[in-house]
């Protein structure tokens, strides 16, 4: 992960940064991620999770991905249980507060099948920000004195050269690839994000390349009518995939809320038995369907429409 500055710049310089179309299929996008790479995951908890991309990575049989996200929800279960990832770097990992502790996370971490490196939420954010700024680290004032710090070999304490205060330096995170889901973008990768941005702008600029999935691809003219809404610039993006309901059963702000009924079903299944329950879920919902659309059919039209009704109501008074 500690790449030299010039190496990071070289990787950007190598890429075609012209304004060109880069729309691909979900399967083609998955093939752009290589075994063993570090992957930054956009969104947070149940929000704007690039679930379709994770679905495709699992089906493509990727191995040993090292994944980083501000807060990890059920996508972390899927990544561990499928064997796609054996290492997750995050501040919090379980399906969601209402569902208690993820037994899938517990099973993999406690049996040492996989690693869960814990950082504070702000440390995750500043690590992506340092990466986006082209700096090797940023200083911060939390994590000090805690066992969260004691468990981590990477950060360094230092005395501020100006004031003498004790500060913590956290190293930049520059993932090989970022996978981010947005409400809309154009065929060039100009991405507009509504509502919560989480760490996605820093993540996109920190990563060596970005794979965008989007609810819909819009024209470049539409992007240019509101350029202030563009949060990720096209030249950071390597590929664009249009996937409706691309976060289901999680939410995409303003478009759909989580499919709570499915999340209740999922959590009761996998938290009852993290091995056989998870196996059953993967077989039925990830390996079974012929395509993402087929997966959405399994989730069910009624639940998708209900989630969409709730999602769109955010702007209602």
């Amino acid at each position: 992960m500690e790449e030299s500055y010039l190496e990071l710049r070289r990787k950007l310089a190598e890429r075609d940064r012209s304004l060109h179309e880069k729309v691909v299929s979900l399967e083609e996008a998955a093939s752009l991620v290589k075994d063993g790479e570090t992957v930054g995951i956009g969104g947070s908890t149940l929000s704007r999770t690039p679930m379709a991309m994770i679905f495709a990575l699992i089906r493509a049989g990727r191995k040993r991905l090292s994944c980083a996200r501000g807060i990890v929800s059920s996508e972390g279960d899927l990544l561990f249980a499928s064997g796609v990832s054996d290492h997750i770097v995050t501040s919090w990992f379980s399906q969601g507060i209402v569902w208690g502790i993820s037994k899938v996370m517990r099973h993999h971490v406690e049996s040492r099948k996989a690693r869960f490196d814990e950082w504070s939420h702000m440390a995750m954010g500043l690590r992506f920000r340092a990466g986006a700024m082209g700096l090797p680290f940023l200083p911060m004032r939390s994590m000090l004195g805690s066992d969260v710090l004691r468990e981590r070999p990477e950060p360094r304490e230092m005395a501020c050269p100006f004031t003498g205060e004790k500060l913590l330096l956290v190293p930049a995170l520059n993932p090989d690839v970022a996978i981010i889901h947005v409400q809309r973008c154009d065929a060039y990768g100009n991405a507009q994000i509504d509502g919560l941005q989480f760490m996605d702008i820093d993540l996109a600029l920190a990563a060596n390349r970005v794979i965008l999935t989007t609810e819909r691809i819009v024209s470049n003219d539409q992007i240019r009518r509101a350029p202030d809404q563009t949060k990720i610039p096209f030249f950071a993006v390597e590929a664009v995939v249009e996937v409706p309901f691309g976060c289901a059963p999680h939410e995409c702000g303003g478009v759909y809320e989580p499919l709570f009924r499915h999340m209740d079903y999922y959590t009761s299944l996998v938290n009852t038995d993290p091995v056989s329950g998870m196996g059953e879920y993967l077989e039925r919902y990830i390996y079974g369907p012929k395509s993402w659309i087929d997966y959405l059919e399994l989730l069910g039209l009624a639940d998708l429409l209900d989630a969409a009704r709730r999602g769109r109501s955010i702007a209602n008074e």
């Binding site: 908890t45 996370m105 939420h121 000090l144 509502g195 919560l196 941005q197």
Partner: protein
């Protein structure tokens, strides 16, 4: 549960902690009891209180019956004054804009340290817990109120793992570690309200709730609580406090 004669432990927690909030404060809140308490305070005695959410939200309006499932979903942004990135909302803590951090707790010790990472030895834990989230940042950078159930296994002499720092090992150890600001202010449980000694930084009894006794406290606490001569007794939850609370959470997700 329609009269104020009866209330649940969670309702008691929410009411008692809402009374600790002051008008005009900026409160960094977790979901569950903290959010209910902050919203209750806004409705009753703190119209100018501002809620911040870790997902990146400043000043949302929480609708009764539509409590967000976490601080990272769109419901948190409803009618907010501002939405920004999560790193930036956390940096507001570091800059000093936040008066109170308000969280729930799984395990706390005599110096107010919180554990949400491991049960048992971290190198071979009995249970891996979800981790800090923003808890470490909030408790490192601002004054804290923690609301939690009072049980012996939760009130331990020393936590297995310091996820979110209180006063570390007491005295000046928090400041010496590089945390000059903030610290535990109050712990609110279903038995009473607790503060911390100015010098030793050990937990002390500030008030008992109606019906609670020092014996009951000792039976449910695995360390010695400092007890001062004058311990207050809190006023039981009022009907209007319970009414607002029950309208906020009609499905009783958090107050059951």
């Amino acid at each position: 549960m329609s009269s104020s004669d009866a209330y649940t432990a969670s309702e008691l927690l929410a009411v008692m902690s809402s009374r600790l909030l002051k008008d005009g404060q900026v409160v960094f809140a977790g979901v569950g009891i903290p959010l209910l308490a902050a919203t209750l305070a806004q409705a009753l005695h703190c119209p100018g209180l501002t809620i911040l959410f870790e997902g990146g939200v400043i000043g949302p309006i929480i609708e009764p019956g539509k409590l967000p499932p976490s601080t990272n979903e769109q419901r948190c942004t409803k009618r907010a004054n501002m939405v920004l990135g999560s790193t930036d909302v956390l940096l507001l803590l570091q800059r000093g804009y936040v008066d109170v951090g308000f969280m729930g707790g799984a395990q706390i010790d005599q110096y107010g340290n919180l554990n949400s990472s491991y049960i048992g030895d971290p190198s071979s834990p009995k249970a891996r817990l979800p981790g800090t989230g923003g808890g470490n940042d909030i408790s490192s950078l601002t004054q804290m109120i923690v609301a939690m159930k009072h049980e012996k296994r939760r009130f331990v002499e020393s936590v297995d793992f310091v996820t979110s720092p209180g006063f570390l090992r007491g005295g000046t150890t928090r400041r010496d570690a590089g945390l000059p600001a903030g610290g535990m202010y109050r712990v609110v449980t279903d038995l009473g309200i607790f503060g911390f000694d100015d010098t030793t930084k050990r937990m002390k009894v500030v008030a008992l709730h109606p019906g609670a006794t020092l014996e009951k406290l000792r039976d449910n606490t695995a360390f010695e609580l400092a007890v001062e001569a004058d311990i207050a007794v809190t006023e039981r939850p009022a009907a209007r406090e319970l009414d607002v609370l029950r309208k906020l959470d009609p499905a009783r997700l958090y107050i059951a």
